[in-house]
């Protein structure tokens, strides 16, 4: 559907996109995830045609659109701060695309016999399409308001309705939830996914929020410093990050250095320090230097180590319990091995977790992610 081949751009001397290659499939919800300043927005703008790449080709449905002006690409675009036209009402904002793409042709107007009818039909066609878009996004009641009088969530809806109204096959969204408060964010996220399905869109969605990416994406591309560093399903990205940098960015709090000491089929024994070894599912051989990553939510806490099939078990002392809203982070010192685990608030209360308490942390060998030390795979 959207093919990006070898796109590169220099921006002054400061900044660049380097040889970007992506292939977004038809009707896919594709998320570009990366830290601020990675060039995500610029990439979207290049696809929409607002800027020209210095090198490379953008294809949509097999057609090379690299040199096509934006108005001929039929791509819906929603900016982070919505970029609503402040001088137009909500309705006129929504109708902008339809009026631009389907202007009243002169010959219709001057064909005197039918002029009045033609104009009316034309207006009705536009109106009904605009009504539909406004209805779908629940902004019908805001029709006469000016954008600056709206809340962030409402502006967001108008920006989406405006893009949807012209029925684009492709939709580009630039961190659309960023400026919203937590509750509106949750609502809009579900809605974006719904709209994606309902209008059979191919959506490219840019964000720096890993949770958002995980919740929305069919596939994710991770961008860093102007390059795409990994492409895959959310599971692939979050469970098998291709480098330590990506692992850190997607929230692997527990990382250790180690040396592989033995292997049996896929089960690898890794020595962390003199007192600790871990078992992991990986393909590295004895003697190799590796980095080990464990997501905090995969670590289970129990009062004893009975009744667990997990291969890795460590006794430890709670250093600190940090309440983070619905979940709590428990920081453990397992005789020199520091682990962080996420548990629900409920578990904290039930087990009466508090600093100084001794307990047992366990995780499965399949929950341990191993990458070659310091080297991207």
């Amino acid at each position: 559907m959207i093919e990006i081949e070898g796109i590169g751009i220099t921006w002054g001397s400061e900044f660049a996109l380097k040889d970007i290659n992506l292939h977004v499939r038809e009707k896919e919800f594709f998320v570009i995830l990366g830290p601020t300043g990675a060039g995500k927005t610029l990439l979207l703008e290049l696809i929409a045609g607002f800027y020209q790449p210095d090198a490379g080709v953008v294809k949509i449905r097999g057609h090379d659109v690299t040199r096509l002006p934006p108005e001929r690409r039929r791509i819906g675009f929603v900016y982070q701060d919505y970029a609503l036209f402040p001088h137009l009402s909500v309705r006129d904002n929504t109708a902008f695309g339809m009026r631009m793409r389907h202007p009243l042709r002169k010959r219709d107007v001057f064909n005197l016999g039918r002029a009045a009818d033609t104009i009316r039909e034309h207006r009705q066609a536009i109106d009904s399409r605009v009504d539909e878009a406004m209805d779908k996004l629940n902004i019908t009641h805001l029709g006469h308001r000016k954008p600056l009088t709206l809340s962030g969530g409402e502006q967001q809806r108008v920006a989406i309705a405006r893009a949807i109204a012209m029925n684009p096959p492709v939709m580009l969204l630039d961190e659309p939830l960023n400026a919203l408060d937590a509750r509106t964010k949750d609502m809009m996220r579900d809605e974006l996914r719904r709209i994606h399905e309902e209008f059979a869109l191919t959506t490219l969605y840019v964000t720096h929020d890993q949770a958002e990416a995980m919740m929305l994406a069919d596939r994710i591309a991770v961008m860093m410093d102007g390059s795409v560093v990994q492409v895959g399903t959310p599971e692939e990205i979050f469970q098998s990050p291709a480098s330590e940098e990506i692992a850190k960015f997607v929230g692997m709090e527990n990382t250790f250095q180690g040396t592989v000491t033995g292997r049996e089929d896929d089960l690898t024994i890794i020595k962390i320090d003199d007192e600790h070894t871990m078992e992991a599912v990986s393909k590295y051989n004895a003697g190799e230097q590796v980095r080990v990553l464990i997501r905090p939510e995969y670590i289970t806490l129990a009062e004893t180590s009975d009744h667990t099939s997990a291969r890795n078990n460590y006794g430890g002392t709670i250093k600190r319990v940090v309440h983070m809203g619905p979940i709590s982070k428990v920081e453990l010192n397992c005789d020199g091995l520091y682990l962080a685990a996420f548990v629900t608030r409920r578990s904290v209360d039930d087990m009466a977790l508090e600093a100084g308490m001794r307990l047992c942390a366990s995780f499965k060998a399949t929950s341990v992610h191993v990458i070659k030390h310091g080297v991207q795979i």
Partner: protein, 273 residues
């Protein structure tokens, strides 16, 4: 958000000094203007009535007004597109173009008059060939308009450029993605959003044009615009003869200025604040 007053607290010493210094410059301006008007009405009301009744005075004032409007309209047509290019495009020598636009502000008025005369005079680069087909500038309305345009066009370009610059370029990007051509997005988005700054620029341009004397007096002493008439009366007959016309012209200018100022403040809605 406006800066809220710190009520109920003693004003600080520096505020008081600032207020006094500000008051000096304000009273200088107010005193200068009001003194002339008040003095005219108190000391020589009949002289003012005579000026009001003099058709020659009105002819000069009207000439001043319409030539200034003509110069403003030309500045609008030629200056707004240039302002848009300066606000939105990067090109070689852009800094030079911006400097050139500011040059008429810095050139002394009589120098501008002399320079215009070398181009549009009887033997001028453009004046000479056009004269053969009957178009003259010297001592003609056309010459006045050219002179007013020269001195006032920077105000138009700079104000409109600021207007365009204050618009988020992403609004234009979005308009393009919604199917508007470059021209369409200019007309539907950029122009409406910059309209206040363009109107302010037009007011400044008109004000600058109607106040000009030095450049006009060189290229076209006749037909006399109002500032020239005032100068002529002053040189020939002294202060008493010129003051009534000065008061009349000032009242006309202030009236137009106040009306336009009120009118233009309506546009605040689309502005950044």
């Amino acid at each position: 958000m406006t800066h809220r007053q710190r009520t109920g607290r003693k004003p600080e010493a520096y505020s008081v000094i600032f207020a006094i210094l500000g008051a000096v410059i304000l009273s200088f301006i107010i005193l200068t203007i009001s003194n002339m008007i008040v003095l005219q009405f108190l000391a020589d009301y009949p002289g003012f009535v005579d000026a009001v009744k003099d058709p020659g005075v009105w002819r000069s004032i009207w000439l001043s007004i319409w030539t200034a409007i003509a110069a403003t309209l030309i500045a609008l047509v030629l200056g707004v597109p240039l302002a848009y290019m300066l606000a939105r495009r990067d090109f070689m020598g852009k800094g030079l173009v911006e400097a050139v636009i500011d040059v008429p502000v810095v050139i002394p008025h009589t120098v501008a008059g002399i320079a215009l005369l070398t181009v549009f005079g009887y033997h001028g680069l453009i004046g000479a060939p056009l004269r053969t087909i009957g178009i003259k500038f010297v001592d003609m309305e056309l010459g006045i308009i050219i002179a007013l345009l020269f001195v006032s066009v920077p105000f138009m370009v700079n104000s409109a450029r600021e207007g365009f610059q204050s618009i988020d370029p992403r609004l234009e990007n979005i308009a393009r993605s919604l199917g508007a051509s470059g021209w369409g997005s200019f007309c539907r988005v950029s122009l409406p959003l910059a309209v206040r700054q363009i109107v302010v620029g037009a007011i400044m341009t008109w004000a600058r044009a109607i106040s000009e004397f030095g450049a006009v007096v060189v290229i076209a002493y006749y037909p006399m615009i109002a500032p020239t008439l005032i100068y002529e009366r002053y040189i020939s007959f002294g202060l008493k003869a010129s003051r009534p016309i000065a008061v009349l012209l000032m009242l006309v200018c202030l009236l137009v200025f106040v009306i336009l100022r009120i009118f233009s403040s309506r546009w605040k809605l689309y502005d950044r604040d």
